[in-house]
């Protein structure tokens, strides 16, 4: 009993300390300073992304260009998570198989899923194609696409994704991202650099390589998340 109180007291002290520390940080306050003479990176990004990159969505400019290298890393983290998951959950063909769906879904769900599936895909593609103009982008679009596949996977017993196609799409999207980076390295001397044909602000084709990279990210995230869901849901042995 005493032990419990001591732990509780310790957590309370720690919580109080952290709360008072974080309270001192003025989250949400405007601390940008002078935009034309930037001191912090946020001010610099806000000023540069419409001016130099001609990208309307500053978040996209940060994610794909200013900190594109981090994004490449994050995409790789997702890729490695999928690879790791497959290496652990890989099933040999002789192992026992189980049914994915214990209870078949009703015809209402099946019909609804069939109608919704293409619409979800279109929405996902729209979100990542317009990533540099409107809120959202590759990660969000990819996640939306994966939800579409999830809907199909949990509705139809016989729905399987084609692993060959998935592998090809995933690899080509990943290689495309790195190739776009290498283009910058070879042409301008800096990895992921992007200064040519940036177009006009707010146009669909603007921002140079940024929309292209975001499309690659969208495809990659979509296929990878779908692979995760498929690996976790799919108990059927994989055909080679």
């Amino acid at each position: 009993m005493l032990k419990k109180y001591i732990i509780f007291a310790l957590i309370a002290v720690l919580g109080f300390y952290l709360a008072s520390t974080f309270k001192a940080i003025p989250f949400g306050a405007n601390r940008l300073g002078d935009l034309n003479n930037p001191e912090t990176v946020s001010a610099f990004y806000l000023q540069k992304s419409p001016e130099d990159l001609h990208v309307a969505n500053t978040i996209t400019a940060i994610v794909v260009n200013f900190r594109g290298f981090d994004t490449l890393g994050e995409v790789t983290v997702l890729f490695l998570a999928v690879t790791g998951l497959m290496s652990i959950l890989y099933r040999k063909e002789e192992e026992e198989t189980e049914e994915r769906l214990a209870i078949p879904s009703s015809s209402l769900v099946r019909t609804g899923a069939k109608i919704l599936f293409p619409l979800i895909l279109v929405l996902g593609i729209y979100v990542f194609v317009h990533g540099h103009l409107t809120p959202g982008g590759g990660f969000q679009g990819g996640a939306i696409i994966a939800t579409g596949f999830l809907l199909m996977l949990i509705t139809y017993k016989t729905f399987y994704t084609n692993h060959n196609v998935m592998t090809w799409l995933e690899s080509i999207a990943g290689l495309g991202f790195v190739a776009a980076g290498l283009y910058g390295l070879i042409v301008y001397g800096s990895f992921l650099q992007n200064t040519a044909w940036t177009g006009n602000l707010n146009d669909l084709i603007s921002g140079g390589l940024i929309p292209l990279i975001y499309i690659f990210i969208g495809i990659k995230v979509g296929t990878e998340l779908t692979s995760v869901l498929d690996t976790l849901l799919n108990i059927k042995p994989r055909k080679k």
Binding site: Y17, L18, T21, A24, I25, F27, R31, E39, T40, V41, S42, F44, Y45, K48, N65, F66, R67, G68, F69, D70, L72, G73, E74, T76, V77, F79, L80, A81, T83, G84, L85, M86, S87, I88, Y90, T167, W168, E170, S171, I172, G174, L175, V178, G181, L182, G184, L185, I186, Y188, S190, F191, L192, Q193, N194, T195, K240
Partner: protein
């Protein structure tokens, strides 16, 4: 295209994404491509190392935004030296493990090779990045690959070790992110040089809170007591080449991250004393635990923790000579411990159980591997003709210069403990009666080449430490000269 630091990362990434496709065309591609990539990284190191020594530092910008605004990669003599060692050892481990799991069918090998290569690439990223958040991303890459590889054998124990590692690794990531968040709110930047420059202006409470988050998070990565409970399980359950990578590459990257953050970013008093005390406790607890182990890989894992503790002590002493010794020890530990895991795994492969009993009299069956294991064991304890002697020697001299008599006594006493269990193991190999059933698995030719190369390194450096001491002195200087780091990057 001129070779620049970004090649360290881009080549493995390209390969990782391409392996899935290449494996469809040519079956052996999954095994070959990582070797080519790791060899390419050695070439990158060989090209960049002279440039770094000549100019003092190389800073490369990513996406064309110069230092404080974009992400930059920095090769100081310190990080270039570690990157070079990691590339070379990574390649040696690949060569050793080339025939690994030949009996497995295509798919699993592909996953294994991708994960192993990316673990080395992620560690390289941690070492060469000059941006705090970028470092977090690379630590994530190392973490994800490490969890998966720990569970690669899909056994009960592997799953347990992996899950433990996953939990504590996620805690580390969360704390690291919180620390970065606090730093970012206070300085408005993520570039390490600029953070270091603005650090004196940060309020003391914020600084201390952020430092605590960093110390916990990076302490987990650098295997500092008491956050290192995951390490022995993960080391002993992972496939053997992976254990070697854990010891030789991942722990080096973890210690580098910890040292870079505490030495360059923060200007808090008392951090050196903290490193000495925690390093010593880590070392003492780990070495005492190692004596009690009946499993060879667990014993080696605890010994790894002990060595990391000594590295932290040496960094904590903080003088030029101590840092010199610490970097020397990092290199030695990487080479020797990798070698111990490589040769040790052949013992395990040849005996029915993983316990030390299986080593009894094994030298008759595996004379070459036994000799290598014994040399490595003597080297890591610090016997004179081998390289391990010099690093320990310099650390003790550095401690003596600062009149830390108790520390010297402590280190020497822990060395005796270390001596006990390594000599006991070597004695088992050579002098015990062979009672356990053995299977016959001779080392493959590539493993022999790889292990001989590393043994040669231990002996050559042991006889002529001057071959690398010039690099080490420059590396130690560059780590201690914070003003130069800031000025060079932000100029």
């Amino acid at each position: 295209m001129v070779i620049s630091p970004v090649h360290y990362i881009v080549a493995p990434l390209l390969a990782a994404f391409a392996i899935a496709l290449l494996a469809k065309i040519y079956k052996n591609a999954a095994r070959l491509v990582p070797g080519i990539v790791l060899f390419y990284n050695i070439i990158v190191s060989l090209v960049l190392m002279p440039q770094v020594l000549e100019k003092g530092m190389i800073s490369e910008v990513i996406a064309g935004w110069k230092a404080p605004w974009g992400i930059n990669l920095v090769l100081t003599p310190f990080s270039a030296f570690l990157a070079t060692s990691v590339s070379v050892i990574g390649f040696a481990i690949w060569l050793y493990g080339y025939k690994f799991k030949v009996r497995l069918k295509g798919g699993e090998v592909k996953y294994y090779e991708i994960l192993q290569m990316m673990m080395i690439a992620g560690s390289l990223g941690v070492i060469i990045t000059g941006d705090l958040f970028n470092m977090f991303v690379f630590i994530e890459i190392v973490g994800i690959t490490a969890y998966s590889l720990t569970a690669f054998y899909r056994g009960r124990d592997g799953a347990e070790a992996s899950f433990k590692y996953l939990l504590i690794g996620s805690l580390a990531s969360t704390f690291l992110l919180l620390g970065i968040l606090i730093i970012y709110t206070q300085t408005g930047t993520l570039n390490m040089a600029q953070i270091a420059e603005r650090m004196p202006m940060v309020p003391q409470t914020m600084k201390i809170t952020a430092l605590i988050f960093f110390l916990i998070a990076l302490g987990i990565e650098a295997e500092m007591f008491p956050m290192n409970g995951w390490a022995p399980d993960a080391y002993s359950q992972a496939p053997s080449p992976t254990s070697a990578v854990f010891a030789a590459v991942v722990s080096v990257a973890g210690v580098y991250a910890l040292i870079r953050v505490t030495f360059t970013l923060f200007d808090v008093e008392g951090i050196h004393q903290y490193l000495i005390v925690m390093g010593f406790v880590t070392m003492l607890v780990a070495e005492i635990s190692a004596v009690a182990q009946a499993n060879l890989k667990r014993m080696l894992a605890y010994s790894s923790l002990g060595q990391m503790g000594l590295v932290l002590i040496a960094f904590g002493i903080g003088s030029h000579l101590a840092v010199f010794g610490a970097i020397f020890l990092m290199l030695n530990h990487a080479v020797i411990k990798a070698l111990l895991f490589m040769s040790g795994s052949y013992f395990i492969y040849n005996s029915e159980d993983k316990r030390l009993v299986g080593l009894n009299g094994i030298h008759k069956r595996l004379p070459f591997v036994s000799a290598i294991f014994s040399i490595a064991a003597f080297a890591i304890v610090g016997f004179p003709p081998f390289s391990g002697f010099w690093s320990k020697f310099y650390i003790l001299i550095a401690a003596g210069d600062k009149n830390m008599i108790i520390l010297i006594i402590g280190i020497l006493m822990v060395t005796i403990i270390e001596l006990v269990y390594y000599l006991r193991t070597v004695a088992r190999i050579y002098f015990y009666k062979d009672e356990v059933e053995h299977t016959e698995h001779r080392p493959s030719i590539n493993a022999i080449i790889s292990m001989s190369f590393m043994t040669l390194f231990i002996i050559v450096i042991g006889v002529y430490p001057d071959l690398i001491s010039g690099y080490l002195h420059q590396a130690a200087d560059s780590l201690l000269d914070k003003a130069n780091y800031i000025q060079h990057i932000l100029k």
